[in-house]
């Protein structure tokens, strides 16, 4: 599913002394089946932006079209919300049911699906996030933090959205937990051909996963493009309080020292390859 965001602005507390403009004339397009990363520091408007994509917030002006449907004018937001799933930050805090099964089933039962369809979806979602189906009757509150988060993600997946938005899904996890969740997200993106939007602070993760980056700064889109294009702007990103992957810094510093290396290296393996070439060539 594709998303078109055209010139949206959003003002919090309009008409009060606390008025603040969270989004200013934001426009971009996300194509079907893209994997998009959104970066920007806290207060840059990322969270406000993603809440617009399933109608939780309505833009003060501008238009958002999802698969050709203008969601800023439609009244039937329920349909939009079944297509666009959002996994919020620390999603495990929204768990409320007595069993894992019931919690994951909450979304699909709100869609009014028949019981066996719900059952199928719950089991599939559990498998997708790497939870054993035999755990279905356990209380989510008995699980570890990382497992609880998977239950919460499964709770969104079970609605089978066509667009999946994740707001810092790895926040607070240890390195292994981070890698596992990101691995699952990649799998989901490929297996279900979901359009995926990942909000993250980790430039390394973004560089590894996505094929397009949107950089938000002070409520505006400041850069947009492939990771290779975006991470070339080291100075600009630093000015915004953001960084680039450590490997990108390394390549930049090497070039500054007069070593001829490509300027669009993002991962350790890429760097290894071209440094080897360089060293063997000397």
């Amino acid at each position: 599913m594709s998303i078109q965001v055209e010139n949206i602005s959003f003002i919090y507390n309009e008409g009060t002394p606390f008025e603040s403009e969270a989004l200013k004339d934001v426009s971009f397009t996300i194509e079907d089946n893209e994997f998009v990363g959104i970066i920007g520091h806290t207060g840059s408007g990322k969270s406000t932006l993603i809440q617009h994509l399933n109608g939780l917030l309505k833009p003060t002006s501008g238009r958002i079209t999802i698969n050709g449907i203008d969601i800023t004018s439609t009244k039937n937001l329920k349909n939009i919300r079944r297509e666009v799933g959002i996994v919020f930050q620390y999603p495990e805090h929204q768990l409320f049911e007595e069993t894992i099964y019931k919690d994951i089933a909450f979304g699909p039962s709100n869609l009014g699906l028949p019981d066996d369809e719900i059952k199928m979806r719950v089991f599939e979602a559990m498998k997708t996030v790497g939870l054993d189906v035999s755990m279905k009757d356990m209380s989510p509150f008995e699980l570890s933090g990382g497992e609880r988060r998977r239950v919460a993600i499964a709770g969104v997946l079970s609605m089978m959205p066509k667009i999946l938005i994740l707001d810092e899904p790895t926040a607070g996890l240890d390195p292994r937990g981070r890698d596992e969740i990101l691995g699952k997200i990649k799998e989901i993106h490929e297996k279900y051909e979901m359009t995926t939007i990942l909000v993250s602070h980790s430039m390394e993760d973004i560089a590894k996963l996505v094929n397009k980056i949107i950089v938000m700064h002070e409520g505006k889109v400041s850069l947009i493009g492939t990771p290779r294009e975006v991470f070339k702007n080291v100075e600009k990103l630093e000015q915004m309080g953001l960084g680039v992957p450590q490997i990108t810094y390394l390549m930049r510093d090497l070039r500054k020292n007069g070593i001829e290396l490509p300027d669009d290296i993002l991962t350790v393996d890429e760097a290894k390859r071209c440094i080897l070439e360089y060293l063997r060539g000397v």
Partner: protein
């Protein structure tokens, strides 16, 4: 503004009681002077004070209305069908109406000039003498402080959980009372769990910072009764004396 919160609380209580002492209109003159004086000193814009009156507008009209129409006795002034307006009615209506207005203005003066934290400190210190008879003054104040600290946090949390559940198709806006009550569960349960989780973590953090109850505890900001406080007490005492005296006036 700069009064000691303890003095403010006591004075407000005296003020409220004195409103109920009044039996004659002449008493309100003094109250009016007193309130106008306080407003001038507090430098609070009148607009704020009128805003405070808005929510009670309906009840104010009702009070006045009911008293006008349903008070027997006195001279009949006018009648609309079965409704009779008597002089006693008008008198009582005005009387009750004014009392209500003064009540609201007086109490909103207290809350507008005193932060909830200062109020908490004041309450703690006022309750302190009762500790010996088992009144947990310090604990109460500590509790109120923590509650005030976490109100904004929980407000934010409520908004977040609500949005997350709406994104999962929850519906907080339709159905009958029973259905709506049920629909609130996905919001209320996580909210509770979050509050208790926060309490657990906070308790550990407080322990790590050497919290051991009110025993042997000092305070960064000591409450002090100053000259202004004494003047305020004096003025209020005069008001009360006048009002008591006022009860014996012929008008």
């Amino acid at each position: 503004h700069r009064l000691d919160p303890r003095v403010k609380i006591i004075l407000s209580i005296i003020f409220i009681i004195s409103l109920f002492i009044i039996t004659k209109f002449s008493g309100y003159v003094f109250i009016l002077l007193f309130i106008l004086g306080s407003i001038c000193i507090s430098k609070i814009p009148l607009g704020y004070i009128f805003k405070g009156l808005k929510p009670i507008l309906v009840i104010l009209i009702l009070t006045v209305g009911l008293n006008i129409f349903f008070t027997p006795g006195g001279i009949l002034l006018a009648s609309i069908g079965p409704l009779k307006i008597t002089s006693n009615g008008v008198r009582l209506a005005l009387f009750m109406g004014l009392r209500l207005i003064f009540l609201i203005v007086g109490t909103s003066l207290l809350t507008l000039t005193t932060s909830p934290i200062a109020l908490t400190d004041g309450i703690e210190s006022l309750l302190n003498p009762f500790r010996r008879i088992g009144m947990p003054a310090h604990e109460l104040a500590m509790m109120m402080t923590i509650a005030l600290r976490f109100i904004p946090t929980l407000l934010e949390e409520t908004d977040k959980i609500m949005k997350a559940q709406i994104a999962r198709g929850a519906d907080f806006e339709s159905g009958n009372l029973m259905k709506r009550a049920k629909n609130l569960i996905p919001l209320l349960v996580p909210l509770f769990i979050s509050a208790f989780r926060r309490a657990d973590e906070l308790a550990v953090a407080m322990e790590a910072r050497c919290y051991r109850g009110g025993i042997n505890r000092t305070k960064l900001k000591q409450l002090k009764v100053t000259t202004i406080d004494y003047i305020a007490i004096l003025v209020t005492s005069i008001l009360v004396i006048i009002l008591i005296w006022n009860r014996f006036w012929p008008w």
